[in-house]
Symmetry: none
Subunit: 203 residues, 4 copies
DNA sequence: AATGAATGAGGATTCATTCAT
DNA sequence: TATGAATGAATCCTCATTCAT
């Protein structure tokens, strides 16, 4: 059996190659249509057996894909968020960078959206809930700090997440220009900060 | 046979029965997992051939299902929306009734969400775009009337739609009490009206 | 039950309509692909039940189609053959008219070829054997009359039939001009008369 | 695995086994009735999935079958044709060996005829046209060499091919004795050589 | 560590036919 | 006489997974 120690996002050799092919495939044909056969073909593998050898099942592969994509997207967003000062600015950075990552990693974003859509009607909702949970905690902190208005942080977290995903989905459909991307990102951030009753949230 | 002319939502006999079974099946197992075999079983049909007899293909059946569900949901929402006076109140009614319909027609909503999720990664996006388009027009009108603030109506329409769907999805996952449903609905309406800069939007 | 007395080629009402639609359908999509559904559609019928009602089964329908087509083709050929004087001239007329009927009744010929092709690998070979048998008798008569050379009439009949069908098939594939049709017909007749050692067979 | 590069007729392992089973099946029940299920059964396979694994689709399998059968038949004919001296003798050898191969490889011939019949009413006519084209070229050469009379080589090639197939079909229907096979072959060659105006074509 | 052949269930769809009305 | 709904077997094909090598 393969070594599992310490491996999280950064896969080794074949695994990484398969995950990369899976990301591309899912981005192209969608989560449900992404069969082992298609992924193997894109990876230049001669059989699907290879995939089953490295992954327990489709579930396992998808989890690995999700981890990889989330890591990529998170890395992009983190530096923008950490550069922001104050809760409101952080929220703005969160929203805007989440939109702008479409321009930087279109395939990854597309794949993630497709996986999330599948998850919504599926059993495993770990990626989904973890993401919303983290945002909710952040919002709660902001409220405690008095930088946000009064709202139910669970509802707000879901609303923000849903709004972002809807916009991202729309932007993914037809390739948007950088300008329109930036515009949409700012618009969305503006309206969500208003919703959150953020103090001093001028962009 | 009963009249087939003018048939839109209200299907005749067997067709209606199949659509109803499809709604239930999609609500239970999701759009992608809803095979003809499962639907036929739920409808008490002896073979899948019957479905193919009444519907051109899966696409055709899903369209019929979408029409049926949209009709049901729309009927529920319409009376609440039409009872509202003023743009802001209408928007609030739109949002709240869209959430509350989960309590009234849980299976229909679940099915619709699953179909929409599939549409997002699919070709036919008619249901999706029509829904967002209608809301966008409504928002634009509200801005002209001076009852909403300044925002890009396209982005706002997507944001509202996405926020609603995210909350509905969450509420669908585990059966919520009426109280929590009402609470969530009001919370979401509050925050979205803030986002829209609605004047005089106290619930 | 429907009256069956005296009916041979000339069908009555519905039957004739269905046969006509079947001829067209077989000509267009081929014998094997010509399903009841397609024939019903072309006939403007709302269900296939109608066909099953008028015909015992597919076999029965195809037999009726064959009779109809053979009658049409035979009528075209007969007047040309009967106008010819002498065995050799009759054979020439047989061959040439068999080719030229492609120009006059393309759909019928196409349908007949498709049915014959199916018959070749099927059980019922009545149309096929009857046709060859008649020609064989004719050839045998010609030999007795001393107007043909020495050959096995069974083999010759098969050879002539096969040669005609191969040419007709080729001519059916892409629509031929009248000129090329006439040229091919004369060429084939020439070579087959040579094969039969026909005396005084100048066209 | 054995080399798959350069694979044409001689298939490797399972592929060859499936092709062989397909030949037998097509010979028995005909091209159209030869389903994957029947072929799998004859091949001793547990499911039709195996066939789909080795062949892209039915089309692909049939192409492989055609190649295999054509190779077998061609090999049989080639040595007889190459032993002949002179154009007329070559044509005689072509015709006679084409008939006599029925005795040597009945199943292969039957399968080929069924496939060709299907091709006549189908889209892919590559096997058919290639075969006729090669014969046409041969005839044209013979005419240039002055060993054949005057005729349209395209028509003659079709006539010869059609005559052969008709006779072969007839001989395939009920198992013929070697004697009658030889007789029919000689008869057909005689008459076709007469048709071609071959000089010095005494058998 | 890797391969690719094999599996068998399940996918949608088409088919000729039957039957109650 | 005619209809159209119902049937269920059969079509090809794809799927994730397993297993011997």
């Amino acid at each position: 059996m393969r070594a599992t120690r310490g491996r999280t996002f950064t896969e080794t050799g074949r695994r990484a190659q398969i995950v990369a092919a899976a990301v591309e495939t899912i981005a192209e044909v969608g989560y449900q249509q992404a069969s082992f056969a298609k992924i193997a073909k894109k990876a230049g593998l001669s059989s699907t057996g290879m995939i089953s050898y490295h992954f327990t099942g489709k579930e396992d592969l998808v989890r690995a894909v999700a981890e990889d994509v989330v890591a990529t997207v998170t890395a992009f967003m983190r530096e923008r968020i950490e550069a922001a000062v104050g809760r409101a600015a952080r929220l703005r950075a969160y929203v805007e960078s989440n939109i702008e990552v479409v321009g930087a990693h279109p395939a990854h974003v597309r794949a993630l959206l497709s996986i999330l859509a599948g998850e919504r009607s599926g059993a495993d909702t770990s990626v989904l809930t973890e993401r919303v949970g983290r945002l909710e905690a952040e919002l709660r902190d902001g409220q405690r700090a008095g930088e946000f208005g009064d709202f139910d942080p669970a509802v707000m977290a879901l609303a923000i997440t849903g709004a972002i995903d809807a916009l991202v989905t729309s932007l993914c459909r037809e390739p948007a220009t950088d300008a329109s991307l930036t515009h949409s990102a700012k618009e969305l951030a503006d309206l969500l900060l208003r919703a959150a009753g953020a103090r001093g949230s001028a962009s």
